[in-house]
């Protein structure tokens, strides 16, 4: 089991939420004070480096036109971290390649970071949440097709070493591809892909890439992992899917005392409560299939754009499996329960900072997790563990 400290580098100093219709896409950037923003970057980078000191790996992501995540050029932040950190793995999750016009440029950026970091890159690729569509002016229809063509091309950029090759595909065209530098890691850096659908997960499984899913709780996560294992097996990768192919992202806060944990957990809920986005940004045409839109019109819950009303409380979020919070014993038990239910995963992506969770509180949460919970998880779930096997069967086999 490997744990990752994930910060969205949020800018929390906003006017009252009822004074703006959306925290994303349309919130005027006059609200952003660059001086405060610079101090926040310093602080968030410090927190990543503290996580590294504690043996936790580093993870970041990319969003655009939003106060929730002021990291529109994640490869830039990754380059800074490549030089500032020394040992941690560096996970970018990820590059929104369905929204980037030049996959070859993304391959170059990632190869450069891999070299800068002496081979510590973990290269993630995401479809991107629906509110990324407008900032990228990206067509929301056929994103999945663009995503996979781009990803296959990026892998070819990394692994082709004999001078220029060409690509004339459905969406991307290049006459002469020959990237410098090429990655250190061979044949290429580990590849991660996030998805929220079982069909998408099967596709990721068929490729054998690492599958990540965010805040999908108990049942949806279980279905996604099952989809991954099905795709893995159908592609002839063998019966056993090791847990290091699967990742889960949750809001996590560990406190020395219940009261301290509770206070931290309340502040982490900012991730969910501050995400005020109207439907025309959260569900652009074509982002979800027609059949899903019919269900939504009939009142179904949108897993892509809303996290569910009961999850705006600490209890509700813990019950839903989107948050693990409490004392070390409590958090260990919550993770174990979730891990067993969904079939097991080898990466825990810790959304451990949000909104007004101050530096000291964030560091407390990182240290308490790293020192009191992480060792127990590593012992219980070695990377060689097979996913989707009942715990009892695991024990018998072990």
């Amino acid at each position: 089991m490997r744990a990752w400290h994930f910060s969205e580098t949020a800018y929390p100093y906003l006017p009252p939420a009822d004074s703006y219709p959306s925290i994303r896409v349309s919130l005027p950037n006059r609200i952003y004070d660059p001086a405060k923003g610079a101090a926040l970057y310093d602080r968030y980078i410090d927190e990543w480096l503290i996580a590294e000191e504690e043996g936790v790996e580093i993870m970041l992501n990319e969003h655009h036109q939003t106060a929730t995540c002021v990291d529109p050029g994640a490869p830039l932040m990754l380059a800074a971290l490549a030089r500032l950190s020394k040992t941690a793995r560096l996970l970018i999750l990820g590059n929104p390649i369905a929204n980037r016009r030049q996959p070859v440029r993304v391959a170059e950026e990632m190869a450069m970071v891999d070299v800068l970091s002496h081979g510590r890159l973990e290269a993630g690729f995401v479809r991107g949440v629906p509110y990324e569509i407008l900032p990228a002016n990206s067509n929301p229809v056929r994103m999945n097709e663009r995503h996979w063509e781009a990803l296959d091309l990026i892998v070819k950029c990394w692994t082709h070493h004999d001078g220029p090759f060409s690509h004339e595909g459905r969406f991307f065209h290049h006459r002469s591809i020959n990237i410098w530098p090429r990655p250190i890691q061979q044949p290429h850096p580990p590849i991660w892909v996030s998805t929220t659908s079982t069909g998408g997960a099967a596709q990721v499984g068929a490729h054998g890439y690492i599958q990540a899913t965010f805040l999908t709780g108990f049942d949806t996560t279980k279905r996604i992992y099952e989809g991954y294992r099905r795709g893995w097996r159908e592609a002839g990768r063998g019966q056993d899917v090791p847990i290091d192919r699967l990742a889960y992202a949750a809001l996590i806060y560990v406190g020395e005392t219940e009261a301290r944990a509770r206070a931290g957990a309340e502040k982490l809920l900012w991730y969910i409560t501050a995400n005020k986005v109207p439907p025309h940004f959260s569900n652009p045409p074509g982002y979800v299939p027609v059949a899903m839109n019919v269900q939504l019109a009939r009142g179904a819950h949108n897993v892509v754009s809303a996290f569910g009303t009961k999850q705006v409380t600490v209890e509700g979020a813990i019950e839903a499996g989107t948050m693990f919070a409490g004392t070390p014993d409590q958090v260990f038990a919550q993770i174990k329960k979730h891990w067993d239910y969904v079939g097991g995963y080898g990466h825990l992506l810790i959304m451990g900072q949000a909104g007004f969770l101050e530096h000291d509180e964030t560091v407390h949460g990182i240290r308490m997790f790293a020192r009191e919970v992480y060792p127990r998880l590593k012992e219980l779930y070695p990377d060689t563990t097979i996913s989707g096997v009942q715990p009892a069967a695991q024990a018998a086999a072990g």
Partner: protein, 259 residues
């Protein structure tokens, strides 16, 4: 009268065709909301003319092959449809993106069209770079989009609770395909306005007086790019006069077509 299916190139198209007598055909090209034979302008136009209306790829039950992603693709497809149906010297009526398709077709084969009606057409860019010619209906609340689309949105908007699953699916599919076809450049082909002078047929440009998507200035500019075009306004209608004021719409169309 029901629609039938017809294969054009590799696309399975839903086609409504009255096939009536020898009356000169009208090829009708629908807008972003889609087409059904029950729409109120269909019967009155069909009484006077052979009325041919394909449902665009990705709308209704028409197929959408993975290669197809532009209005220009549909224009080529419909010229092929005209070959199959042996349609020539016909009249063309296009609404909204249907008007855009009509303009693309007529710039490619101007000799095949006798008269053309454009109703609230999109497809060109005439305004400054820092202002959208056509408002971004996908980036605003649904009610705001309805207000731009209709003169009387309360009367015209559809209640999902009263729609069947099939109707809902058709609505969402239309929305998705509309996005696919018009996303970038937004609602236009930058080259089209350099080609419109090729359209020799007399043209009528219609606009609903309350149309919040296609402005009067846009319609006038569009019409000025054709050698023989006039404009007219339909009162108490928005972007879809054929649904909001079907009597006035059909009267204007038939009058222009000489019926």
């Amino acid at each position: 009268m029901q629609s039938t299916n017809l294969r054009v190139a590799d696309v399975e198209l839903e086609l409504f065709d009255t096939g009536q007598g020898t009356a000169r055909p009208v090829l009708f090209l629908h807008g972003g909301g889609g087409f059904t034979p029950q729409q109120p302008f269909v019967a009155p136009l069909s009484e006077k003319r052979r009325f041919v209306a394909p449902t665009h790829p990705g709308f209704g039950k028409s197929g959408l092959p993975d290669w197809l992603d532009s209005i220009d693709d549909i224009a080529h497809l419909y010229l092929e449809l005209m070959d199959i149906l042996k349609l020539d010297g016909i009249d063309l009526v296009g609404c909204s993106i249907g008007g855009w398709i009509a303009a693309e077709m007529a710039t490619k084969s101007p000799e095949r069209f006798r008269r053309i009606v454009f109703c609230g057409p999109v497809g060109i860019k005439v305004g400054p770079p820092d202002k959208l010619d056509i408002p971004d209906i996908f980036a605003i609340p649904e009610m705001d989009a309805l207000k731009l689309t209709f003169h009387d949105p309360e009367r015209m908007k559809r209640d999902p609770a009263k729609m069947s699953d099939d109707e809902l699916a058709a609505m969402f599919r239309a929305r998705e395909t509309l996005a696919l076809l018009t996303w970038e450049p937004w609602m236009h082909n930058p080259k089209l306005k350099r080609r419109l002078h090729r359209i020799a047929a007399p043209a009528l440009f219609i606009r609903g007086e309350s149309d919040g998507l296609v402005s009067a200035a846009y319609l006038d500019a569009y019409a000025r790019l054709l050698p023989d075009a006039r404009t007219m306004t339909i009162k108490a209608a928005g972007h879809v006069p054929q649904l909001e004021q079907p009597a006035a719409f059909t009267a204007a169309v038939l009058d222009f077509l000489g019926e």
